[in-house]
Structure formats: C-alpha cells, structure tokens
C-alpha cells in the first residue's frame, strides 16, 4: 500500500489494488440500488469488478430483523479479478441486524460504517440483541465509523418539500456518498442516474442528489476516516469496449443474439419464478426486436407453448428454475421425441422443493442430464460467469438449431444476479447459425435423417409437407406411429447418437497451469471465479495444481480422458453433493476423482478452496 498526498488534500490518499465492500441493511433500505450504483460508477472508472447480491426471498421481511437483511457485495480492482471477494474490507451496516449478520465476514482490521440512528432499544430488540454491538465489544479489532445517518440526512434535507418519511428514504444515497468519498469515486454517474430515474419527480432528484453530496462532503469535512483510498483503473483486461452485465441480462441478450444470428424470431414462453423472472421481463420489453413473449398460466403451459412455437419455426425458449423445470419434465420428453430445437434455461437455486429461492446451488445437473422418463438425452451447456452467460446462451441456440434438439442452458442465482465487466463482442465476430427449413415435398419424410442424424424442420403452412408428429414412438423415416421392437431400438439409438455427436462440434476445454502434475481442479458453472483465484494462489505458492472448467456438461467434450490421465487426482468442487463427480466416475472410471461438495446457499470462497487443495496435496 502506497501513500500519496493529493495537492490540497487534508488527508492522505492511499492507493489500493483491490477492495471488497459490502452494503447491508433492511430489505427496504435500498442496499441493492446502492450496490448497483457503486458498481456502475466503478465500471465507469475502469475497475475490474465482480458483484454478489444476497437478499431474502421475502419482498419485505419484518423490518429490522435478521431474516430481513439484504446485502450487496462488490469487489473492484485494478487487476484482473474472478470473484466478488471472499471477505469484505469494508462493511456498511444500516441497522443492528445487518451488523450482526455480516460482521463475522469482515476482514480483521476492516472498516465498518454503522448507522447509529438505527441502534435504539427497539432496533436492538428486533435484531434479538440484548446489548448494543457498537458498545459491547463486538466491533473490537475493526475500524469503526459511527454516523447517525438518519439525523444527517434530515439535516441535509431540512429545506426539502418531502415528508420526513420520504427524507429518510434518501439515507442510502447519503451512505453511498460517504463511500464514494472514501474510495474516491466520482458523483456524476449517480447524479445523472438519479436525474433520469426520477425525471417525473424533480423533488426526489434534488433530495437524493443532495443526500449523495452531503454524504460525500461529510467524508471530506468530518475526517471520519483516517484517509481516502484510490483504486486505479484496471489495465489487465483485454482492450475493447466494456459494460457491466448481470448474468440474467447476458442470457436475455445471448438469446436475442441467437435469434439475430440465425435469422429467426425469438419466442419465449415463461412463468414467473425466482431467480429466472428477469429474463421474461427483459425480453418482454424487446417488442421491436421480433421477440414474442408469452407469460403462460403455469410452467407446463410455458414449455408446451414453446414447443408449439418451435414446430412453427421460431427460436423457441423457455426459462425457469429447478421447481419449474421439474414441472416441464414431461413436455421435455416430448420435445426430445419430436426432435424440435429449443433452449430451456434453468437459473438454478437451492433445493430441494422450494428450497432457498434466492440462494445459490448448482444441484440440477442430474435433473438436466437424466431427469426425464425413458431414454431422453438433452445436451447441457452451463455458464460460468455473468459475461460468459452471453456466449453460452448463443452456444445453446447453436446446438439446438444445428442438431434439431432441445438444449439445457444452466445458470445459477450467483451468476444471474452477480455482475462483472463484459467485453462487448463486435457484431461481425458473432458466429452465424445456419438454419434450413424443408420446403421440397419430393421425397419428404418427417423422420428421414441426414448425415448428422437430423430430421428436417418442416413448418406448418408449407404446401405438400403436411405431417403429424407426437409423443408415440415413430417409425424410422415416415414418422408414423410404430410399436415395432427393432424400430424402437433403432430410434432410441439415433436419438442418443445424435446428441453424443454434438461433442465433435465443441472444443476440448483448455487447462490453466501445469500440463501434468499432482492435481487438476475441475469445475463447471458459477464456481469458475473461485477456482481460478484459488488455483492461481496455489500455483504462486509453488504447488503443482492446474484448473479446467467445463462449459459442455452433456455430451462431455472429446479429449477429457487424456487430460485427466496427466494428473494424480482431479478435484471437483461443486455446490451440490457431487453430481458432476458421479457423472465423471461413471464416464471415466479409471481416474481418481475427488469430490468437494458444499451446499450452504453460498458460493465457494477462494480461500476455502485453497485450504482444501493444500490438505489434499499434503496427504
């Protein structure tokens, strides 16, 4: 850490490479907005960043209680980073519940900003506290900044025409201003955002802008902090144009891209479900992009309408989360049987059953690969980060259209609501997806396959191609209902071979680190950031550890066998009880796979992975 002094500045300005902060408050305190604003501003400043919001499923859990605490963690850096950070350097706690729920995560010696205005006897009672944590030693070992934000905001907005209740709603912007000062962020991006957001209510624009400025000034004037930090722009990122992107947003854009690159209209059939709803909402706004959205009466209707749209030549998509996917299961079997292209998005959440709707888990891998009656293979693609979700959505569209098959696209709650800088693709770089509709009646048979085992896509409305499809077994070629034993064996084999042949169209994933050695850490989905950080740390410590990440979970890419054979063991950290681990043990029985399961509704911390890797290598 270097110390400089800006000309005229009263306090020292310290340059820091890497900062993690967490905003925590009541779910009604606006912590998500605060976090998102800090994120946008840091993006504009040019930091690399990663975010992780953590909020309750309840819209407004009882105010002041521990279950009602909403958090937003942001990691911003002047170097290339991969995770939202293990432990925050600074914590903002808007009330006692937020403080006690989060304080154990704060780094020793970290900064904690506490809103004293919400630490009255009643507030402590709501948080089930007998003593005041500001005074009872809870905060020992931290740099504690106690501010009565309620009072400061009231003072700053004394002249405002707003009611005192509305004035108090500006607290989060005061807090944001304070943190902007601490980390030397410009106010303009948020000032502009407020002006736009509340354009119809100028008094709200003024009040929130004033609160933001007052918070900033307080940092400057009151010398609450020992100094100010600066996190310079990150120069490690590849050159290009960037924006900050959430995982769900990236999926929505990737699907629109899939439609644009294949020249098809996009159809989305969906039913609202956390944490996938954003995709429906986003696409519903794209009415001028040839995007049709259908909010169905239930999950089953959503997938069935999607299959209907696929029959009629749309790029058909349904989006949901685990419990909704369970409901779609029977229809997905039909999609396999009639061999129509579609993408099924599963933004996974913690299960089983309703589970923990706003918490992360990647435990729907079995559901995706195996979860249907009969032999019903469906390819599976999984995004590893918010920005990667764009490429994966496009890839899922490619596989679906190229192979006439339904495709699972897996994301999770951590990717969906997390964000990171996304290097925007140039339009001419995006892959084209070739689609051919059958129009020639000569020799047409609905289940006559080509060299890639694909059947023709013949759209209703095409003269001379009238045909019937359905869930009953079909005769090879004609597609007529057929119960012949040998035919069923043949058709089942075709469907399996077609899906397995997709592996010839995908690249073997690359390995980071030594080409052979003691340990390969293998991941899939949202664990990529933590695994990358952890294995980097291990390699820096001289350990023989490589890492690899799978985007295609079914079929598995070619070449894995040879890679696995170059390491003494393969460690598979998963936010489930070892689902990929079991799949790999059955596919590659000769290798030594180790499972590291974690199911706490939270992502892996890089540090816990480092510990596990070290303990394995010590043995």
């Amino acid at each position: 850490m270097t110390q400089t002094k800006e000309p005229g500045a009263e306090l020292p300005l310290q340059v820091q490479e890497d900062v993690t902060i967490r905003f925590a408050g009541d779910s009604g305190d606006g912590m998500q907005i605060t976090g998102n604003q800090f994120t946008s501003t840091s993006a504009v400043v040019g930091n690399d960043l990663a975010t992780f919001p953590d909020f309750p499923a309840e819209i407004r859990a009882p105010a002041g209680t521990r279950p009602g605490v909403s958090g937003f963690q942001l990691h911003f850096s002047s170097k290339d980073i991969h995770t939202p950070g293990d432990r925050p350097d600074a914590l903002v706690a808007m009330n006692p519940a937020a403080l006690v729920v989060n304080i154990k995560d704060l780094k020793p010696g970290g900064i904690v900003v506490v809103n004293e205005g919400n630490f009255g006897a009643n507030d402590l009672k709501k948080a089930k506290l007998e003593t005041n944590p500001i005074e009872d030693g809870t905060l020992e070992g931290y740099r504690v900044i106690v501010v009565d934000i309620n009072k400061r905001v009231a003072e700053a907005l004394a002249d405002s025409p707003l009611s005192s209740k509305e004035v108090q709603r500006c607290k989060n912007f005061y807090t944001l201003g304070l943190m902007y000062w601490l980390y030397s962020r410009p106010l303009e991006p948020t000032m502009n955002w407020l002006a736009k957001k509340f354009a119809k209510r100028p008094e709200l624009v003024e009040a929130n802008q004033k609160a933001l400025q007052a918070g900033y000034n307080a940092g400057d004037i009151h010398e609450m902090f020992q100094g100010q930090y600066q996190v310079p722009a990150c120069n490690d990122l590849p050159a290009g144009t960037y924006r900050n992107i959430l995982g769900n947003q990236a999926i929505g854009l990737g699907l629109v891209a899939g439609a644009a690159q294949s020249g098809l209209d996009l159809f989305l059939g969906a039913y609202p479900i956390t944490p996938a709803t954003d995709i429906l909402q986003q696409l519903a706004a794209y009415k001028n992009h040839n995007v049709m959205t259908f909010q169905a009466e239930d999950e089953i209707a959503a997938v069935c309408a999607t299959i209907g749209a696929a029959f009629c030549g749309k790029l058909a998509v349904t989006s949901s989360s685990g419990p909704g996917i369970a409901l779609k299961t029977e229809a997905l079997g039909l999609a396999v049987s009639v061999e129509l292209p579609m993408v099924i998005v599963n933004v996974q959440r913690a299960g089983p059953s309703t589970g923990m709707p706003t918490k992360v888990e990647q435990a729907d891998l079995y559901q995706s690969i195996f979860g249907r009656n009969g032999e019903a293979p469906i390819p599976v693609v999984a995004a590893s980060s918010p920005a990667d979700a764009f490429d994966c959505a496009l890839e899922a569209c490619r596989i679906a259209l190229e192979y006439m098959t339904p495709v699972f696209l897996l994301s999770d709650n951590y990717i969906a609501n997390g964000s990171e800088p996304w290097k925007l693709p140039r339009m001419e770089e995006l892959p084209k997806i070739e689609v051919k509709f059958r129009t020639d009646p000569e020799g047409f048979q609905p289940f006559l396959r080509d060299e890639k085992l694909r059947r023709p896509w013949a759209l209703p409305g095409t003269p001379g191609l009238e045909h019937r499809i359905g869930g009953l077994e079909k005769e090879d070629g004609s597609g007529n209902v057929c119960y012949d034993p040998q035919n069923h064996q043949k058709m089942t084999q075709y469907r399996q071979d077609k899906v397995l042949s997709i592996r010839d169209s995908i690249e073997t994933p690359g390995v980071e680190g030594p080409e052979s050695g003691d340990l390969l850490v293998l991941g899939w989905g949202g664990t990529k950031g933590s695994i990358t950080s952890a294995t980097n740390t291990c390699r820096e410590a001289g350990l023989s550890v490589a890492n690899m990440h799978l985007r295609h979970l079914w079929p598995l890419p070619n070449g894995l066998d040879a890679i696995f054979g170059r390491y003494k063991a393969v460690l598979i950290p998963e936010i489930n009880m070892g689902q990929l681990w079991r799949v790999l043990r059955s596919e590659y029985p000769e290798h030594n796979f180790l499972s590291y399961p974690k199911v706490q509704g939270k992502p892996f911390m890089a540090s816990e992975l480092v510990e596990r890797i070290k303990s394995i290598l010590e043995k």
Binding site: A43, V44, G46, P189, L237, A239, G240, T241, Y242, R243, N244, L253, V256, A260, F267, G269, Y286, K287, N288, H289, N290, M292, F294, A296, E297, I300, A301, A302, C304, A305, T306, I307, G308, A309, A310, F311, C312, A316, E330, A331, L334, V338, K423, L424, M427, L459, P460, G461, T462, P463, G464, E466, H467, R468, I469, G470, G471, L472, N480, V481
Partner: protein, 332 residues
Amino acid sequence: MTPEATLTKKDLKSDQEVRWCPGCGDYAILNCVQGVVAKLGIPRENVMFVSGIGCSSRFPYYMNTYGFHTIHGRAPSFASGIKIANPDLSVWIVTGDGDALSIGGNHLIHILRRNFDVNILLFNNEIYGLTKGQYSPTSKRGAVTKASPYGSLDNPFNPISLALGAGATFVARTIDSDQKHMARVLEAAAAHKGTSFVEVYQNCVIFNDGAFDDVADKKVRSDRTVDLVPGEPIVYGKERDKGLRIEGFGVEACAASDASVWNAGIPSPAPAMLFASIERGGELPDPIGIFRSVDAPCYEDDLHAQMAAVTEKKGPGKLEDLIYAGDTWEVK
C-alpha cells in the same frame, strides 16, 4: 368466405388406418370434421390439428393436415404457442372430458380467457376410455366404474357452464350421431374469430355405451333436446310445437308461439348460463346448438399489433444497440 382451393373429404383422410373401436362415436365426428374442413376454403397446409392424450386425441393422425399429438391435457398450451408463432393457421384442438377438464383444466380456462382464434372440440363420453373405464370429470355422481365400484363421489363438471364461466366467446354443444347438426355447429365454430368451444356428446361403445341415449337417441332426440339457433325461436318437438322461454332467473316450458327468440350474441353470458344449467334428464329438453357467440379481440392479433406498434414507435430493433446499451467504457 369464398373457397380458394376446393378440397374433398378424401383429401383430408391420412394414409393411417383409423384404430378406434368399431361403433365408436369418434368415427362420426372424424367424418363430419373432414367434411366441414374440406369446405372451409383453407388450403390443407394451413390447417393444424392439435390433441392431448386419450382416445379422441389420436384424431390428428387421421387428418391429412399438419398435426401434433402432444401430452395429456396440454393441447391448448401447444396451440397457444402455435397461434402466436403462426396466426394464419387454422388450428383445431381435439380433446376429451378427462384431457380437457381434469388434467388440462387449467389450460382450458386460460385459452378461453385469452381468446386465441382456435376451435376446441371436446369429445365428452363421460368416461376414461383409453385407460379402460374409470369415472371422468363429467361422469355422474354415483357412476359405477372400475375405479368406483361403489359409485363415484365426484360431482361432475358441466363443460358448457365451465366454458361460459371462463369467458369463452363461442360455446356450443352437438351430438356425434347427428351429422347435420354437428356440421352446422362446426361451420359456425370455424367461422367464429376467437376460441370456439364445442362439446360433442360422444358415445363410448365399450365402456359407457348409451350414456346419452336419454336425449341423443334418434327416437327421442326431437323431444328431449332443444336446438339453440341464434335469431330463431327456441322451439322443439317432432311437431315443433313446444317452446322454452326465459322467465325470471330460469327457463320454463311454453307453447312454441310464446318461445323466446335466442340471442347468443349479447355481452352477458347469463342467458346462456340459464340454458346450460338445465339438467339433462329433467323435465326440460337438453339444450344443444350455439349457447354463445360474441366478438372479442384475439390474443395473437393483439400481441402482433403490440409488436408492430412498438416497432413503429421505436424503429426496428438492432442487436448492436442492445449490446452496446448503458454505460460503456474503453480499455486500451
């Protein structure tokens, strides 16, 4: 509608052998539908039959049009996606009492309220046939079936009341053995813009033979049914000498000369509901014909109009604009 391409019934028969039980009412319905569709003036490639699961749901295999034999109860959902994707198709949903009213009850009410421009043919035989004889959601309370050896405890649905309650814009009932009546009703259903719901009394010769004989048998039909024909007096009987009229909150018998003139087009479903509530096998004749036929916007038309309006206002969207939206920055 002026027919552009005249089809014959034969053009609409597929090359698949029809495999319903000999004597099944489905044969008569298939025959009638082929006759009606042939005369619509719609090219064969623009016709699509969609079905769920059950005896009736094999229907699409026997039509030489596009067809989709889907999964149990969900045909309306598939049809919704199909109509959104291609509003030009003439879509026919073929379903049964179990398919439409039990496992698919949810989808039925929702397609009715959305008013997609499709035709729904509900073959009601008051029994589960394909699974060999269990009580269905239209079986009478007390029905003795394989799954209810001591009598069913379920109260049956009245399909017509259900459709009216869900906001259906066209609701009708016909009888498998009355080809002329069925053809008239199906023609009206096809002409209706919006969801047309047609209940067909269909005899299951194996598991529920004669279920509708009390009203549908040729010998009693003219006295035991009354045909609701929009714009005509509600009269019935061999001699057309008996009538029905609306009185207070009910329907009562009267002389033909005093019969109400049937109006299926008023906004309120209340009069239709009065006729739907007449209990089959009671004193009054069982109403068939057209209970309701009103104009209302269709979902797929509204959706495409909304897309056109937004495109008109904002201009055709470009992927690049979506990707490069919001705050962006350069890394050099």
